[in-house]
Amino acid sequence: MPSVKRLRETSTDTATSIATTVRTERPWNVVVWDDPVTPMKVVVVIFKKIFGYPDNKATQLMMTVHHEGRAIVWSGSAERAQSYCVKLQVAGLQATIEQDSN
């Protein structure tokens, strides 16, 4: 029956559309990785300068990097994540971006 077939196609298209939307809306994370030589104070100053974070937030993120080996320091659009990652790398930190897994 043609009408039933069309209905099924429409249903599949909608499901695909929803799945696509969900995938592209997941935020991008900027991740900073620990290294054995960078002074802690320098990491805090870089976070404050690049993100405008207050001292306590910058310090907290630095401590997460130090103790856990990495920290997500910013999340949002892919373009801004990439821009922030470049700024962090220019400042000499080991940084990457990744799309949020949730």
Binding site: D35, P36, V37, V42, V45, V90, G92, L93, Q94, E98
Partner: protein, 142 residues
């Protein structure tokens, strides 16, 4: 220990490095500048770390932006090497270029953890600690 950088009342940052200190800074700045312009430099790979490791290659515009900004910071640091006073922008260029130099020095020598750092040869360790001292002192005034 005497402070190496001092924030003055007029906002400028006074550089109190002696000739030996400035020679260390010159070497660090020079390596970063050279590495950005020479694909065969030992540090070139470190300075071109992946932005998004899940992709085969990064956005060329982002790579170009990184190269341009890193090179500009190194140029500004070299241009102000003998200055007695620095603006905030110049001090930021010093900090970022010294930090790039520090990490490149460590990673090209295979220093990726505290054990490797502790086991490195005394001359290298002394150089790393000197850069760390400069960076800490700069961070204190920025």
């Amino acid at each position: 220990m005497a402070r190496l950088f001092v924030r003055r009342r007029d906002g400028r940052i006074e550089v109190r490095l002696n000739d030996d200190g400035r020679a260390v800074a010159r070497e660090a700045f020079g390596h970063v500048y050279a590495a950005e312009h020479d694909p065969d430099h030992d540090w070139h790979r470190t300075l071109n770390a992946p932005i998004d490791p899940s992709r085969d290659s990064d956005d060329p515009l982002a790579v170009l932006a990184r190269q341009t900004e890193t090179g500009s910071n190194a140029e500004l640091a070299i241009a102000t090497l003998h200055e007695e006073f620095l603006t905030d922008a110049e001090a930021w260029a010093w900090l970022t270029t010294l930090q790039v130099s520090l990490r490149a020095t460590a990673s090209t020598r295979g220093i990726f953890d505290q054990d490797a750092l502790a086991a490195s040869d005394p001359e290298l360790l002394d150089y790393i600690e000197t850069l760390q001292m400069f960076l800490f002192a700069l961070a204190e005034v920025l």
